[in-house]
């Protein structure tokens, strides 16, 4: 029977595309060590010139927010409309602002 501890751990893969964008999560790979995870990430996720830089990080190291707490975490931001530039009315003839 399969023993989860016998499986190579899972790594999350982040790729930075050309043009200086931030690294973006693209998927995951299994690998026994970090070097292998990089190789597997390269061979799996950059076969079509998708990237110029790779990050891998053990999936077990990720702490995710609890979906059950989504309201507590994210709803309070909803009424902070004054954080957005469109909240402010500036007459049309005022330029460059």
């Amino acid at each position: 029977m399969s023993d989860p501890s016998q499986e190579w751990p899972l790594w999350e893969v982040f790729v930075r595309g050309k043009g200086g964008l931030s690294h973006r999560h693209v998927g995951s790979v299994h690998a026994a060590d970090a070097q292998m995870a990089l190789a597997h990430a390269r061979d799996t996720y950059t076969r079509r010139m998708e990237g110029v830089s790779l990050w891998v990080l053990p999936s077990a190291e990720i702490t995710a927010s609890d979906p059950g707490e989504a309201d507590a975490l994210f709803a309070p931001a909803e009424d902070k409309v004054y954080r957005h530039p469109t909240f402010y009315t500036i007459p049309d003839h005022i330029k460059h602002i």
């Binding site: 060590d33 190789a39 597997h40 390269r42 076969r47």
Partner: protein, 249 residues
């Protein structure tokens, strides 16, 4: 055949036969991710083969293109080194072959990208990046398998031992190599040998593996004297072209 054409042919045959061998793994590797890695290396090899064989055909000037050369020659006209035609064996044996060959190819292309002949230099400049990765990947696996378990260590040793006798041929020089150097298209392979030894030795040391016992080099591939394995490989590879002469695909 023109010396430079033969020079290109040898480079192309090496890549072609190794690519063919590696592609045998497709769908059968020890882990899904490894399957993808081996296929990437195989694809690089097929690409290199296509470029070098096309160049060989052009230099020969008899109207043979890369496919004609790959699919319409018999064993004695293949000029690849014996190392690349060795069977895959287990994963350790495949890694041993890849490790030895990729380090050789990398050293070779590092120099070839700077030769005068732009045709060879251009292919080498592209391939050197590929082989850098092949050498790194294979080296990491040599270390993992050498250091891993008792079984993996024994298998890695057997794999290295199997392939070792064919490594001398990689650095053997003959009149074709000399002519290629004179024409500004070749590399002094003999001079690469000590560098290769050092690179191989460093990885083996990290893996805790002793270099295989010295063995008299087995030679012959460059002049068409191959192992028994190659005939089977090419009968498989050339089946359609042989069964349907003149057909296009």
């Amino acid at each position: 055949m023109h010396a430079l054409a033969t020079h290109a042919l040898r480079l192309g045959d090496d890549a072609l036969i190794l690519g063919q061998r590696l592609s045998e793994w497709c769908g059968h590797a020890p882990a899904l991710e490894i399957d993808l890695s081996l296929a990437n290396i195989a694809l690089d090899c097929v690409g290199q083969a296509t470029h070098f064989l096309a160049l060989a055909g052009a230099l020969e000037g008899q109207g043979r293109d890369a496919d004609r050369l790959a699919f319409h020659r018999d064993v004695m006209d293949f000029t690849n080194c014996l190392l690349v035609e060795q069977p895959n064996g287990d994963f350790a044996q495949t890694i041993a072959r890849q490790f030895f060959f990729a380090h050789y190819q990398h050293l070779l292309f590092e120099r070839m990208q700077a030769v005068q002949d732009e045709r060879f230099a251009a292919i080498a400049a592209k391939a050197v990046k590929e082989t850098a990765y092949h050498a790194k990947l294979a080296g990491e696996w040599v270390i993992r398998l050498g250091d891993g378990t008792e079984e993996s260590r024994a298998r890695m040793e057997r794999g290295l031992d199997w392939m070792w006798r064919f490594t001398g041929e990689l650095f053997a020089m003959d009149e074709i190599d000399s002519a290629a150097i004179d024409a500004g298209a070749g590399v002094d392979k003999a001079a690469l040998h000590p560098l290769w030894d050092a690179r191989i030795g460093a990885v083996l040391a990290e893996a805790g593996l002793a270099p295989p016992a010295p063995h008299r080099p087995v030679l012959g591939g460059r002049i068409g004297r191959h192992s028994e394995h190659l005939g089977h490989l090419i009968s498989d590879m050339q089946f359609l072209q042989r069964a349907y002469p003149g057909a296009t695909w």
